[in-house]
């Protein structure tokens, strides 16, 4: 065996070791489902006239829990259908990577809602905070998933920061009902972005592991 072949073998081993540590479940259905739940939450908040801090917090934390539970169930269904263990090492790594930033988002939400009373100016920061933290969670998980997830995480971070900048520099009374803007931001960020990315994945992702 010459040194080039040996180097090639080492490269193949490295690539395979990296690949086995990746989470491989189909993400298109999970992303689309999360987006639809996000849009439904935004519609409920906007048309339901939820304009209290408590209502806003309760609605969106419920939406988050429902989305997480639905994603969990869908991933489990995919694993069962493929005859693979659900709580596999890659799944565990992804969950562990998501956990710190999602916990921070939950605590930040509870703190802002608890301290904000019914002040929409204060609650209005929550979509930006949640988007940045969710983006960080996705970026962390992206180390154990396909590369696109890291970029998707960056999208949320940038959108969250962009929304912060909008609130700082361009916040004007557009005649919207109270907190409606925050519901719309949540709908666009968590609903629209997921649906758009889910559609993209539907056309680009390998279909082998889909339910």
């Amino acid at each position: 065996m010459d040194s080039n072949r040996a180097a090639e073998h080492l490269q193949v081993i490295r690539t395979l070791m990296e690949r086995s540590a990746l989470y491989r479940r189909a993400l298109a259905p999970i992303t689309l489902q999360t987006g639809v739940i996000g849009l439904a939450g935004a519609g409920w908040g906007w048309f339901g006239g939820i304009d209290t801090a408590g209502g806003f917090g309760a609605l969106w934390m419920t939406v988050c829990l429902v989305a997480l539970a639905a994603a969990f169930l869908l991933a489990r269904r995919q694993a069962l259908k493929a005859g693979e263990p659900f709580w596999s090492p890659p799944t565990r790594r992804v969950a562990e990577a998501l956990l710190p930033a999602l916990t921070a988002g939950l605590v930040a939400g509870l703190l802002v809602v608890a301290s904000g009373g019914s002040d929409p100016a204060r609650i209005g920061w929550l979509p930006a905070i949640w988007a940045v933290l969710y983006g960080l969670a996705l970026h962390s998980a992206g180390f154990f998933m396909t590369r696109g997830i890291k970029l998707f995480g960056w999208l949320f971070v940038l959108c969250g920061l962009g929304y912060c900048a909008y609130r700082v520099f361009f916040q004007a009374d557009a005649g919207l009902p109270r907190l409606a803007e925050a519901h719309a931001a949540m709908g666009i960020l968590f609903g629209g972005c997921h649906v758009a990315y889910g559609c993209y994945l539907s056309f680009t992702e390998p279909r082998k592991n889909e339910t």
């Binding site: 065996m1 040194s3 080039n4 040996a6 180097a7 193949v12 070791m17 491989r24 005859g83 596999s88």
Partner: protein, 102 residues
């Protein structure tokens, strides 16, 4: 160049398919049969044959169980397998290193 490292390469591992299986298993505590088959795009028969060879060499442990009443086959490296794979990689690195020094 000293041919010794090449002669020491483990013939069981030094086959493309089995090296790929060992590489996958080295990076994770265990993997299901279907995950390996899909990742390596091998046929069931091909994977089974390679696994049997690795199992006979004592490098891979195969566990059969049930998940939601469906059979689930998982594979993991044994301690001997992990050690043999480490030695194999060490020898490959030695071959590359020797070429660099000449």
């Amino acid at each position: 160049m000293n041919p010794e490292p090449f002669l020491q390469l483990d013939r069981v591992i030094h086959e493309r398919g089995r090296m790929a299986i060992m590489s996958l298993l080295a990076a994770t505590p265990e993997l299901s049969f279907t995950e390996m088959r899909d990742t390596l795009t091998m046929t069931d028969g091909n994977l089974t044959t390679h696994l049997r060879t690795l199992q006979e060499a004592g490098y891979v442990a195969v566990t059969k169980s049930y998940q939601d009443r469906k059979p689930l086959t998982t594979c993991a490296l044994t301690t001997a397998g992990r050690k043999a794979f480490g030695n194999y990689i060490g020898l490959l690195e030695k071959i590359v290193e020797q070429a660099r020094n000449h």
